[in-house]
């Protein structure tokens, strides 16, 4: 996969505020990359630099082999889907979608053919003559998408395009967007603060925090091997525990986590020459049962609190050693197996489910 976008040590400052802080990133051709992070983390600023609405203070941007750092937005072969959609209120659906082609001086016959194809693709047949204010939110979203893909840009930039839709429609659009991206083979850079959306759609995710990239990787990598405490906490949930090395051999390292519980983890996880580190444990990796458990780490605990959440059951555990842990277990159907507050239970943790993360 050759690189479609190269972000080279880009910094963007607004006055004293550093929105993007020395970020480097590669996006492959045909890749679906998501910039994920809380609001104000710099992800939208990076997107706006790619579309040309902002110019980097330092560093450079290369798209399709061309340095576009100082290129005007209207000379770039990228298009954006705006968060507010930014449809032209004085133009019909058809005219909105055809706007880019008209600016490129594509002849009318070809223009209407290509607009027709895209209208078919996003299922807006019959709405060609409508004005944006006569459309539903979902339809507007499709017009915005159609308008951005019809000029066949090298890169499509999407700025939280689904945030204004209701939950059901959003899930449906996530799948449609993903399918569309595969079908077109187009490079997508997608900005969102919704981790579930990012995991569902992306080939790779770049997690942003305070203007920096914390980690780049596939959804699986980021979820299972978070490299920092921020990533572990932002994507999914995590028990973040300070740990102290007790001993190690060639395979495992024994550590004592805050509260006093002793656990074993893969020795490769533990940073060399370091007595202390932060360990992340996903709540669903904590095995809980009323019967003894077969795992490398086994300990007993009492259920301090139980939160029934439908499919899942959330348990706050006080381990015998004195460490507090959150566990999430599948809601069991058998009433007699169900675990309730006050119960004494067995807990287990596999060695590979303990991940050492950098503290932020």
């Amino acid at each position: 996969m050759s690189a479609m976008i190269e972000v080279r040590s880009v910094t963007k400052r607004f006055g004293n505020f550093t929105a993007v802080d020395n970020v480097s990133l590669m996006v492959g051709e045909g890749e679906f990359l998501t910039l994920l992070g809380p609001s104000g983390c710099g992800k939208t600023t990076l997107l706006r630099m790619l579309s040309g609405f902002e110019t980097p203070t330092e560093g450079s941007l290369v798209i399709a082999g061309e340095d576009v750092t100082h290129l005007a937005p209207y000379r770039r072969n990228v298009n954006q889907v705006f968060q507010s959609y930014a449809l032209f209120p004085h133009l019909s659906v058809e005219e909105n979608i055809g706007f880019g082609l008209r600016m490129q001086k594509v002849p009318p016959a070809e223009r209407s053919r290509r607009v027709g194809e895209v209208i078919e693709l996003v299922a807006l047949n019959g709405f060609e003559q409508r004005r944006p204010h006569e459309l539903s939110g979902g339809q507007r979203q499709r017009v915005a998408l159609a308008r951005a893909i019809v000029p066949r840009p090298k890169v499509l930039l999407l700025d939280e395009p689904l945030s204004a839709l209701d939950a059901k429609l959003r899930q449906q659009m996530q799948l449609e967007l993903k399918r569309l991206q595969k079908h077109l083979g187009m490079t997508f850079v997608f900005v969102t603060h919704d981790q579930e959306e990012a995991l569902t759609m992306s080939d790779r995710i770049a997690v942003f925090n305070r203007g920096r990239i914390e980690q780049v990787g596939t959804g699986t990598e980021i979820y299972h091997q978070p490299s920092t405490a921020f990533v572990a906490d932002f994507i999914g949930e995590a028990n973040l525990l300070e740990a102290e090395l007790i001993s190690r051999n060639g395979v495992t390292a024994r550590v004592r986590v805050q509260g006093g519980l002793e656990l074993a983890l893969a020795v490769a996880q533990w940073p060399a020459d370091c007595p202390r580190a932060l360990v992340s444990i996903r709540p669903e990796k904590v095995l809980v049962s009323k019967r003894p458990i077969d795992a490398e780490n086994v300990f007993s605990a009492r259920v301090a609190e139980e939160l029934f959440q439908g499919v899942l059951d959330r348990l706050h555990l006080d381990t015998a050693a004195g460490t507090r842990l959150t566990a999430v277990v599948a809601n069991e159907s058998a009433i007699r197996d169900a675990i309730h507050a006050g119960d004494d239970v067995w807990c287990g943790l596999h060695v590979d489910d303990l991940v050492v993360v950098r503290s932020n």
Binding site: Y74, V78, L87, H90, R147, A148, P151
Partner: protein
């Protein structure tokens, strides 16, 4: 008891809004009646009347006044007035649009301050401001003095009492009426729309003509009407700054009422003039709606 009373009070509520509505409307209707409808009616009646030797209005019916309106002398003056007003409108648009756009794109605090600057001249009497311009433009005035001091010119340029002075006066007087409505439209324009136009390959000129102009069109037409209509009828500026060298239709009408003491003819000029406005306005308004 309360349950029984309820339907009755509902009935009262059903009748009240109409009464209240009329009461609330009354001041406005009264104002329009006294200051717009009645004067217009008087004007209309006068325009069909004659006058005696002393200039008093005699109520005997005639079309003579209207026949005189279409005398080439007055048509030429009317044409000149339209020309001056049109030129004023164009200059105001050319100067006012960028200013309005610039103000609309600022952060709120700066925006409010700039708007205040646009409106400050209204705090001073219009006549005083016009006299200030006379002080600037006259032969021994500020501008000529500065140019002579700088050695750019040897003798003072004749600026005051020229068509140029009239245009300067008109543009100065009506510029805020162009800036404010355009600002109103530009401020509502979502900047993302301009970005979207650029994003789709529209350079600054295309983005301006394809997106910005159509979306600020209501402000542009409002501004043009607000400048053009009063500029045609203006007589104070043409009197003071034009030195009555270039009479405009407003001066002619004013003269008929006061100096010439021919109120019926002045009224006929006024009626024709008003009709022209109404027709122009209707045309512009219709086109404006078609564009939208």
């Amino acid at each position: 008891m309360q349950a029984l009373a309820a339907p009755e009070s509902e009935n009262l509520h059903a009748r009240r809004p109409r009464l209240w509505g009329w009461l609330l409307l009354a001041p406005l209707v009264g104002w329009l009646l006294i200051f717009v409808v009645v004067p217009m009616a008087i004007l209309l009646v006068y325009s069909f009347c004659q006058r005696d030797e002393l200039g008093r209005v005699v109520f005997s019916f005639t079309f003579q006044n209207y026949a005189r309106v279409f005398d080439p002398i007055y048509l030429r003056i009317l044409g000149r007035s339209v020309g001056y007003a049109a030129l004023t409108t164009l200059i105001c648009l050319a100067l006012g649009y960028p200013v309005a756009w610039y103000i609309a794109r600022q952060r709120e605090r700066i925006r409010d301050r700039l708007l205040l600057l646009v409106m400050i001249p209204f705090w001073t009497s219009f006549l005083i401001r016009t006299y200030a311009w006379i002080a600037i433009l006259k032969n021994e005035g500020l501008l000529n003095g500065m140019l002579q001091y700088a050695g750019i010119i040897a003798a003072p340029l004749p600026l005051l009492y020229t068509p140029l002075a009239v245009i300067i006066g008109l543009v100065y007087a009506y510029l805020p009426f162009m800036i404010l409505p355009i600002y109103g439209s530009a401020e509502k324009l979502d900047n993302a729309l301009v970005e979207a136009a650029h994003d789709l390959g529209a350079g600054p000129i295309r983005a301006f003509s394809e997106v910005i102009i159509p979306l600020t069109w209501p402000g542009i037409t409002a501004g043009m009407l607000l400048v053009f209509v009063p500029a045609i009828g203006m007589f104070a500026i043409t009197d003071l700054m034009g030195g009555a060298q270039v009479p405009m239709i407003g001066n002619v009408i004013q003269n008929q009422f006061f100096r010439a003491r021919n109120a019926p003819f002045g009224a006929a000029l006024g009626v024709v003039f008003t009709l022209m406005f109404v027709i122009t306005y209707a045309l512009v308004h219709r086109r404006g709606q078609r564009v939208r």
